[in-house]
């Protein structure tokens, strides 16, 4: 099983949209390696012919009637926005 180095931690941090100080990266890598070592335990079990379980209850596609119903009011949906303008969520400029 591949083990993690600092470069990979930086790659994963970018995927997760997180940043860490150099010091935190070292500690984080240690913790992740320790946990991944422990997780290797799962390879003691042969699962070649085992079906994966993603959900424990036998629920398949759940559908409902396609009826228009009242939903959250615009003001309510925007009420927690850190910044909003003209009934829209405002974020830093995306396109120069």
């Amino acid at each position: 099983m591949p083990k993690l180095n600092i470069n990979e931690v930086e790659h994963v941090a970018n995927l997760a949209r997180l940043e860490f100080s150099e010091q935190d990266k070292i500690k984080l890598t240690e913790h992740l390696v320790e946990i991944l070592d422990y997780i290797d335990k799962l390879n003691e079990l042969n699962t070649d012919d085992v079906q994966p379980t993603s959900h424990v209850i036998p629920v398949k596609n759940v559908v409902r009637p396609d009826k228009v119903k009242p939903s959250l009011k615009k003001e309510a949906a925007l009420s927690n926005a850190p910044s909003n303008v003209d009934n829209l969520f405002e974020v830093p400029k995306i396109i120069e």
């Binding site: 992740l32 320790e34 424990v56 409902r64 959250l72 309510a76 850190p82």
Partner: protein, 487 residues
């Protein structure tokens, strides 16, 4: 005894007979809060004014001769990962430190329909990620039985509020033991219902295939009453199951003759288990036998793989669920971001605490290109094996009985620098979530130093009734549940 230490069903009778008022009960609870909250820190926020208004509203209904529901006028704590319309909901995190939900979680809506008095929002590990209530942005919660120890977690505040009389009962959530383990460490009754029994709508998601909301109460009767109130299919949660909800109080039967109880040998280990816990749980099993249950050993061979498997499944789901916290629509946003990407990264890095970041990192890694099969798919297959173990055991047994936690409450700070050791405190509770089955923790004794010990009873899917019957019988023949901490 002060009103705040009574169970909800006792208070209900007093209310109906007009021997006390809901305002008196609510005031008693707030007096207790004033006395102990500085030490215990059960709550992230309290809502005194609305609580007393609701109590007085219920009193008026009683005076007018209205028939009130069982939980009407009962002061309750709600774990702070359940959305409460107009009331701060932080999930114990800086990233939601200002979040006021514009809607109620379905469970909260159902409690409001019963005229429950909501006292406040209970402290918890950040995003329910922890086993000790030490990772909350709003400070640690202390165990009322020994304030140098942790209450367990992540529903620590809900549990301490209930045991210390800062609420009559509470709602918690359980992803890998977060109701049962703190219930065990604080001597209250904590139930994780079958996955799909209770709607998760409005519960801030941690690991969606494992999360379930459940009651935290002073006794089994209250647990049944509260489960009655919150169960059932909800069109807002497609994983809530459309099965009839029985009246769980009908299962409060003091008789377990002929009930077949399996004792999983893997839950009684020498390594890492407190001998006093082992002994008290053995004593409890002896009592269940004396009361007429047929107890027999059983093997659940995949038990020891539960924590490793849970690491992958829960972290993978969490990394995906927590992607929504990016400073755009709600919650905390970092200042002075130079770009959108920079805003996401700064917001998340400043908003999440270390344990949450560690879990997001592990989950992201397990789902990332090249590692999916080795980790996530493998974990899902092992999950099948864990579930198969239970399916097989339940062909023969009605319930399984185990310790809830391998130890009593540990010291504050003891495990905070060692994540893996902390994770192992859930070793006896996680597999219940992995298999989706119901499980309860009930008080079964105290250690020589006076710390509570809990008995876990696991049942078949959607058979909370047998769990209640066994729990109730045990409770009726012991008095551990009636002991309160000296605080």
């Amino acid at each position: 005894m002060e009103l705040c230490h009574l169970a909800a069903h006792d208070i209900h009778h007093l209310l109906v007979k007009r021997e006390v008022s809901s305002v008196e009960v609510t005031e008693s609870v707030f007096r207790q809060i004033d006395k102990v909250e500085d030490t215990i820190n059960s709550y992230i926020m309290l809502d005194r004014v609305k609580a007393l208004n609701k109590a007085s509203e219920v009193d008026k209904k009683i005076s007018a001769g209205e028939k009130i529901p069982h939980l009407a006028g009962i002061p309750m704590a709600i774990k702070d990962n359940m959305c409460t319309n107009g009331l701060l909901t932080t999930c114990g995190s800086n990233i939601l430190n200002n979040y006021i939900p514009p809607y109620d979680a379905t469970v909260v809506k159902k409690l409001r329909e019963q005229d429950v008095v909501i006292i406040g929002k209970a402290n918890m590990d950040e995003f329910a990620m922890g086993s000790s209530t030490e990772t909350s942005y709003f400070g640690i919660t202390r165990n009322p039985w020994d304030t140098n120890t942790v209450p367990g977690g992540s529903s620590g505040g809900s549990v301490t509020a209930t045991t210390a009389g800062e609420a009559i009962c509470a709602l918690g959530s359980d992803t890998g033991g977060s109701i049962r383990q703190p219930a065990s460490l604080c001597s209250v009754v904590g139930l994780k219902p079958t996955y799909g029994r209770v709607s998760r709508y409005g519960l801030v998601a941690f690991a969606s295939s494992l999360d379930q909301i459940g009651p935290i109460t002073k006794d089994v009767t209250d647990s049944a009453l509260l489960l009655n109130a919150i169960s059932g299919r909800d069109e807002m949660d497609s994983t809530s199951v459309d099965l009839p909800v029985p009246d769980y109080t009908k299962s409060l039967i003091n008789d377990i003759k002929g009930i077949k109880i399996g004792i999983p040998e893997e839950y009684f280990v020498d390594d890492g288990m407190d001998p006093e816990v082992n002994q008290k749980v053995r004593d409890a099993i002896d009592l269940l036998s004396k009361l007429g249950a047929e107890c027999e050993d059983v093997s659940l061979p995949t038990t020891e793989y539960g924590i490793a498997d849970y690491q992958i499944i829960s972290r993978a789901e969490a990394s995906s669920n927590l992607a929504r916290f990016d400073g755009t629509r709600y919650g905390y946003r970092a200042e002075n971001a130079e770009s959108l990407m920079n805003m996401y990264k700064k917001t998340r890095s400043e908003g999440f605490g270390p344990e949450v970041k560690l879990r997001i990192m592990l989950g992201t890694y397990a789902l990332s290109t090249g590692y999916y099969d080795a980790y996530y798919l493998k974990a899902q297959k092992v999950r099948t094996l864990i579930k198969n173990d239970f399916d097989k055991a339940f062909e023969k047994f009605d319930v399984l009985v185990t310790p809830t936690s391998p130890t009593t409450a540990f010291k504050i700070g003891e495990k905070t620098d060692d994540p893996l050791t902390m994770y192992l405190s859930d070793i006896f509770t996680v597999n219940c979530n992995m298999a989706g089955i119901p499980g309860i923790s009930i008080p079964c004794g105290f250690s020589s130093s006076g710390l509570p010990i809990g008995l876990q009873i696991l049942g078949k899917p959607f058979d909370e009734e047998t769990i209640f019957r066994v729990s109730y019988t045990f409770e009726q023949n012991t008095d551990y549940h009636s002991k309160r901490p000296n605080i």
